[in-house]
Assembly symmetry: C2
Homo-oligomer: 324 residues x 2
């Protein structure tokens, strides 16, 4: 028996969240195809509401709750895209969202949560403080905890990005997605292996935060206490649930250097004119810079999930003359 | 009798260029709608091949040539997006493109022309030197001059962006487009007034390069010898042809400050996660910052042509904390 949500649960999630999210475009780029030696199909979750795929899982979780349960509100701890996504999903359902954020969370992320009506509780920037703060809110309010990835409803929601991609481009040979806690990659793997079993599913990870790579290589979860990467969305570690799904369904994890992340990010900005965050670039680098999928006649078809586009424009990793 | 290409010529252009261009998406953004007090529909020519709408007109012109004429190649003088567009259109037809560029043209623009196989001739950065260099090439090669905007085939091609926008969102109340030499705005006005006569067509222009505003106000072309604006795509002046079309079909010209251009550009980057160049932001500012179209029940529907996304990432006008 397989772990994680079924393809039926993923299809149900797609129907549940459709009124609340964008059906994001799948973009192509001739000059990147040429560089890659393959046909690249970019699923643009950077253009999604809240600027990342996270709204898919959050919306599915929030709208899966029974009315009485939902009325108590939801709570999570996150310094990133899940926080804003949960706040917006809760607002769409008309319920409260309490978000525990570390004191050093970027101001842009806090403003996004506030814009969507989330109630922020700040805490010290460590996991113990986050969990304590969240537990205190749970006890006080009776709200429902919505974990960013250790939750089948979240995974089913994140899977709908790959579902849409495969509906639009059925004959993919590869599907690439970044991996952090593993919610997106788990969902991507289940959807892909259900609809297109012959496609290889590749998780992409910064070399400086390669806990998924190590965990799959060693056969047990290897925690990553001090991840070092510009990809701020990819610093979480796998949960048992996502680890089990990845073991079953993912073909390989590719790790990329910080230089490759910035180079791939710049390529997409310059050639495709869309803003992706470093976490998304992690899944672009293997295809464009390393030509994964380049040996094939006809050219291989590579799907890439661009996970998000939330960056601080005031501090970008680009300097000097253009790269193209 | 109206000046400029007919709606039939525009439809023919759309059919002619369809195999060679992207049908760009029309994107929406809830938070910008809220700010604008209206429904905004962004036609994303920044995601077009070569990074701007210019490929539409260039492709229509190049593929309108007879075989014998085309075989002699094409020539233009441009330091901007038309240069790259003409080079790519010529390559698609398998003919030569000679591009006269000023010595001080941005390196990114030169590289784009080279990437598409254009043959660059550098000249001194003034109009007389450009025209002399182009004439010399014309005499030597017999190639066909393709002016960036003073040409009905170019105008018909540029008009196809508005045609597609109105096919997708028929009931627009306003259509906004930037104006420089007037090719895009002319085409936009002809397409809009043909398909949706009740929509108001608004040209948008930097206050520091407001020759279209002055020309329409005074009833004759007012040249702009020394335009001052960050919007490098909007420094050209109207031709008699485009001036006549704008007089007939455009409802108003709105001018915006340099601060508004940068603010609107940043808004689109941050909220929509797409890269637009300053020239495109000129058409965003009236809707988002000045709430053009805000008084209406139901909310007014505003179409905005995002003309291009070619910027140098090494020197961006953003600094300091995020704007959202």
């Amino acid at each position: 028996m397989s772990t994680g949500p079924s393809i039926e649960a993923i299809r149900a999630a797609a129907e549940r969240i459709a009124p609340h999210i964008h059906r994001t475009p799948v973009l192509t780029c001739a000059s990147l195809d040429e560089m890659a030696g393959a046909g690249l199909f970019f699923k643009c979750e950077n253009l999604q509401k809240t600027g990342s795929f996270k709204i898919r899982g959050a919306t599915n979780a929030v709208f899966s709750l029974g009315d009485a349960e939902a009325a108590r509100g939801v709570v999570t701890h996150s310094s990133g895209n899940h926080a804003a996504a949960l706040a917006l999903a809760a607002r769409r359902r008309g319920i409260a969202a309490w978000i525990v954020m570390p004191r050093n969370a970027p101001a842009t992320k806090c403003r996004a949560v506030e814009r969507y009506g989330g109630k922020i509780t700040f805490c010290e920037p460590n996991l113990a403080a986050r969990e304590t703060a969240a537990r205190e809110i749970l006890e006080r309010t009776g709200a429902v905890m919505i974990h960013p990835y250790d939750d089948d409803r979240i995974i089913a929601g994140q899977a709908t990005a790959a579902l849409e991609l495969l509906e639009e481009v059925p004959e993919l040979d590869f599907v690439l997605a970044p991996v952090s806690g593993g919610g997106l990659l788990s969902g991507t793997a289940i959807a892909t292996k259900s609809l297109r079993p012959e496609a290889r599913v590749i998780g992409c990870e910064p070399a400086g935060a390669d806990d998924a790579f190590r965990s799959l290589a060693e056969g047990h979860i290897v925690p990553m206490p001090n991840p070092q990467t510009i990809a701020d969305g990819l610093r979480a570690s796998l949960a048992e649930r996502t680890f089990a799904i990845l073991r079953e369904r993912v073909d390989a994890i590719h790790t990329v250097s910080e230089e490759e992340i910035v180079a791939a990010m710049r390529l997409v900005w310059e050639r495709m004119k869309i803003i992706i965050e470093p976490s998304s670039a992690v899944a672009v680098a293997p295809a464009t810079l390393r030509r994964l999928g380049a040996e094939g006649r006809p050219p291989r078809r590579v799907g890439i999930i661009l996970s998000g586009g939330n960056v601080d424009l005031g501090s970008l990793p680009f300097a000097g003359p253009a790269g193209n």
